[in-house]
């Protein structure tokens, strides 16, 4: 028996049918075709499926789709302004903060949540905030720097 769910998805109203056992990650990827949100572990330990739920950073693999009734869901597909990349997206490209790119959507969402809360984070703050997101390619150095650069860019705007 599927449940009819209505949410605000990346600023637009959206609706979908979800089995009660389906995670929000499965609903996003399989039902709503938003495959930018990635599954790395399915048990909340890698952060690749990070999204914002009513502005809160969550692992979408740990939320059921039916739980999101009436809430605002923001995914990596929603962070660019039309054809203009978000400063974080641009900073990740310009500063080689991705290699394979599978963790990148999760890092972007986590970084966006951080900068919404703390526009001028220190390196330890960035490292603490991003510690739920695993990256196996970069060693985190260029990710931390990209977040610092994007933060400065956003403060200047």
């Amino acid at each position: 028996m599927k449940v009819h769910v209505q949410i605000n998805l990346n600023g637009e109203p959206a609706e979908f049918l979800a089995e009660p056992r389906q995670t929000l990650l499965e609903c996003l990827r399989d039902t709503l075709n938003l495959t930018g949100t990635k599954e790395g572990c399915g048990d909340g330990n890698c952060g690749s499926c990070s999204i914002l739920l009513d502005g809160q950073l969550v692992n979408s693999c740990l939320i059921l789709g039916v739980e999101t009734q009436g809430q605002c869901v923001e995914t990596v597909e929603g962070i660019a302004q039309g054809s203009t990349l978000h400063p974080l997206q641009k900073a990740f490209i310009d500063n080689a903060a991705l290699q394979c790119g599978i963790c990148t959507p999760g890092f972007l969402m986590a970084s966006k949540a951080l900068l919404a809360r703390e526009p001028n984070p220190t390196e330890p703050q960035i490292r603490m905030w991003l510690a739920n997101n695993l990256c196996r390619c970069t060693g985190y150095d260029k990710i931390v720097r990209a977040v610092q650069i994007a933060a400065a860019e956003m403060r200047a705007q």
């Binding site: 399915g42 890698c46 997206q89 290699q99 390196e123 695993l134 150095d141």
Partner: protein, 751 residues
């Protein structure tokens, strides 16, 4: 240290061509693929580390309303046993098939036994659980020394040890014992002033790529098998699938999807043949995506090892003799990568007398796969900590001891190879001159903390292998670059830069595409640090082919015999046309310009790398923190320095994980007790500092741009350097990886 050749584009940092797709979520990775009629697969895996399969009953499972097909090893087409070489050495076909679907016996917990296709992933898992398998459990062996002991349970009744190339008569868990000898190490030890001998062990660790293995297969109605994979080598998948399913390669087409990390672990096949068999049975496309638990339990980690290293030196620090005993755990099937370990164990040093024994040992753990410089970090952990001890006992600076004995052009290794121009000395000198090496350590953060600094170096020989490249010149002067190398870390762009440099274009003028196995010539795996070296070489040569054809077009246009091409401009007498201007006229002059090249180069020119690391050890908890980390590596020529730094930083942090936390924690019954990212603890952003890098450029003399691959050597020395830093801090010699808090605490309490 830099070569003097002037380049326009090489050495700059243009943005990657796939950047926008990867930061917006549009890039299509394997699991993102959708198809009409898609079925979902699941794999039933063995709960036992070692068991005979008595029976498999699929009756109940096949009655599930969403079940569409079930396959087991019996569904492989019958073929006679034969030996195949698919790039990883000679292996019986039955072993390759056996790891994909167990036949008769399961050899590790997580070993695949059956595959299911169903209408949803959830149903597929439920159906797999309904398959009734009767197992007769057998005793298991989990480490090389226990598997080599007399009377150990045998994994394969038909496995005979190749003892110095000759098969032994009795079955064994040792598949190969080889020896490399140079000079007379016994005699030289007798003349040494100081000898240090140590036994060390390392745990099984996993590559830890964030994207689980995934494949979609469609056995099409024209008889062709179409595969969409997350793989490091589409041609390896094509050839292996064809071999396993007894098909001509022309029947198989493999399309590489974007790949979420590999590090060597996405070279072997797991679900791919199962998805193909399920698609053949159902007539539908079938997708199989592993869970994280399946990745850890059922794909290929890298070998744990037992190593004994003995090194003798003169009072002045000259190394005179070295012996190594390397016993590596292959997992369930032979192939522990102990041969590269033997190549690397003393490769950084000029030691005239060496004896190296290598043992490839099967154990009841997952069949191992390559992992970034496979075999070398284990070996360097031994050699580099023993050298640290020798330096300490001789009262020598550890870098001075290494510099005194460093391998250089002409130095011979025990495997017989003689080095051409290499950068071992330059890496060591860069480390010595680096401000980090002379910087103060700073005060410990609390009373029970101690600080220390360690160094180590490492080597990886890198690979060549075939690569192909096609360039299509478009009317606006842009160039489509067609290649077959999976792009795991920005190689589309570095390869495009190597073609653009020849053509006098910008990186943005290039349109690189990684295509399927029908569309490009044979290209080896993205592995062995070979992609920038080989595929880049092919791109360079293909660009030269383009220049040759463009010159012909210009000669025809200008009615001249000879045309020059320099700095992106074609010239003859008074005539001048830029590349783009000429490209716009090509259609008027004659046929389109399509450049092509294929290479199979030798002389990959190994890469040396080194680490300076500062640690703080908490003497109350045994926890080691990394305070400062500097990675140094010879890149030959850094095509895109950001990507070279990225390889160095990524390899360093994987090495930190290997050193301090990561291990397969096995129960005595052979169950992996930590099969999740919560308990298989890879470094997070919070666990590591910034990773400083120093790129050394000692040009590889054979390569058009002097490239040496940089993907792997960077992981070789971090565990040893961290062990040496822990010693500098605490006086403790660590002899086991990982050096996690319990292990360091045990060493502290033992004193």
């Amino acid at each position: 240290m830099s070569t003097t050749t002037h380049y326009n584009l090489i050495g700059t940092r243009p943005p990657r061509h796939d950047g926008a797709d990867k930061v917006t979520g549009r890039a299509l990775y394997g699991a993102d693929l959708k198809m009409a009629g898609l079925l979902h697969g699941a794999i039933l895996r063995s709960p036992h580390a070692h068991a005979n399969i008595v029976s498999i009953d699929t009756t109940k499972a096949s009655q599930h309303p969403e079940c569409r097909a079930i396959v087991t090893a019996a569904d492989f087409p019958a073929v006679a046993e034969r030996i195949v070489d698919l790039g990883e050495g000679e292996t019986p076909l039955s072993y390759i098939r056996g790891n994909v679907l167990a036949s008769g016996k399961t050899l590790y917990q997580g070993h695949a036994v059956a595959g299911v296709a169903a209408t949803s992933p959830q149903a597929a898992s439920e159906i797999a659980a309904l398959i009734e398998v009767v197992y007769a459990p057998l005793p298991c062996v989990l480490t090389a020394p226990t598997a080599m002991a007399p009377g150990a349970p045998l994994l394969h009744s038909d496995l005979r040890c190749l003892e110095f190339g000759e098969p032994t008569t009795a079955p064994s868990n040792v598949s190969n014992h080889f020896r490399q000898v140079m000079g007379d190490s016994e005699k030289a030890f007798a003349e040494a002033d100081i000898i240090v001998e140590r036994e060390l062990t390392t745990s099984t660790v996993h590559q830890g790529y964030i994207e689980p293995h995934t494949v979609t297969a469609l056995w099409n109605n024209d008889g062709r098998l179409l595969m969409w994979c997350s793989t490091q080598g589409s041609f390896v998948v094509r050839d292996t699938i064809a071999c396993m399913l007894d098909l001509p390669v022309s029947r198989v087409r493999v399309t590489p999807m974007e790949i979420g990390g590999g590090f060597g672990g996405k070279i072997p096949l797991y679900g791919e043949p199962v998805a193909a068999l399920l698609s053949k049975k159902t007539g539908h496309p079938v997708k199989i995506t592993m869970t994280r638990r399946e990745v850890l339990e059922g794909s290929g980690p890298t070998p744990g090892s037992f190593i004994r290293v003995k090194i003798g030196a003169k009072q002045d620090g000259t190394l005179v003799a070295a012996q190594a005993y390397l016993a590596y755990e292959a997992g369930a099937y032979p192939g522990a990568m102990v041969s590269p370990a033997a190549t690397c164990v003393f490769a950084a040093y000029d030691i005239a007398n060496q004896t190296i024994d290598g043992y490839d040992v099967v154990v009841n753990k997952p069949s191992t796969a390559p992992y970034r410089a496979p075999g070398a970090p284990n070996a360097a952990f031994a050699t580099e900590t023993v050298l640290d001890e020798i330096a300490q006992k001789l009262g020598m600076d550890p870098l001075e001891l290494r510099l005194k004995n460093a391998a250089k052009e002409g130095t011979r290794r025990a495997d017989g190879a003689k080095f051409r121009r290499i950068g071992c000395v330059e890496v060591l000198e860069t480390m010595k001159a680096h401000p980090h090496y002379s910087a103060p350590l700073g005060e410990p953060s609390h009373q029970q903390a101690k600080r220390g600094r360690g160094v180590a170096i490492g080597f990886w020989m890198n690979a060549g292998l075939p690569s192909s490249c096609t360039l299509n010149v478009h009317i606006d002067g842009s160039v489509g670059l067609i290649e077959g190398s999976t792009d795991i870390g920005g190689s589309r762009t570095s390869i495009a830069m190597m073609a653009a440099e020849v053509l006098g274009l910008e990186a943005a003028d290039m349109r690189p595409s990684v295509v399927d196995t029908d569309t490009i010539g044979y290209t080896g795996v993205t592995g062995g640090s070979r992609t920038t070296f080989s595929t880049g070489w092919a791109a360079h040569d293909a660009a030269q082919d383009v220049v040759k054809q463009m010159k012909e077009r210009a000669a025809k246009l200008w009615k001249v015999e000879e045309v020059q091409f320099e700095n992106g401009v074609f010239r003859a007498g008074e005539h001048r046309l830029s590349f783009k201007e000429l490209a716009a006229k090509v259609g008027e002059i004659g046929a389109p310009v399509v450049g092509r090249a294929a290479v199979n180069p030798k002389g990959a020119g190994g890469s040396f790398a080194g680490v300076i690391v500062d640690v703080e050890v908490d003497m109350e908890t045994g926890k080691t923190s990394i305070l400062r980390f500097t990675a140094v590596q010879d890149a030959g020529k850094a095509i895109h320095p950001s990507y070279v730094e990225g390889q160095m930083q990524g390899g360093s942090v994987q090495g930190i994980g290997w050193a301090l936390n990561e291990e397969y924690f096995m129960s005595p019954e052979g169950r992996m007790m930590n099969a999740s990212f919560l308990d298989y603890r890879m470094p997070t952003a919070l666990d590591v500092p910034m990773i400083d890098t120093a790129i050394v450029e000692v040009a590889n003399p054979v390569h058009p741009y002097g490239v040496r691959g940089v993907g792997e050597a960077n992981i070789v020395s971090p565990p040893a350097a961290i062990a040496n830093a822990i010693h500098a801090a605490t006086g403790l010699r660590m002899s086991h990886l990982p050096m996690n808090p319990p292990s360091v605490m045990a060493a502290i309490l033992k004193v």
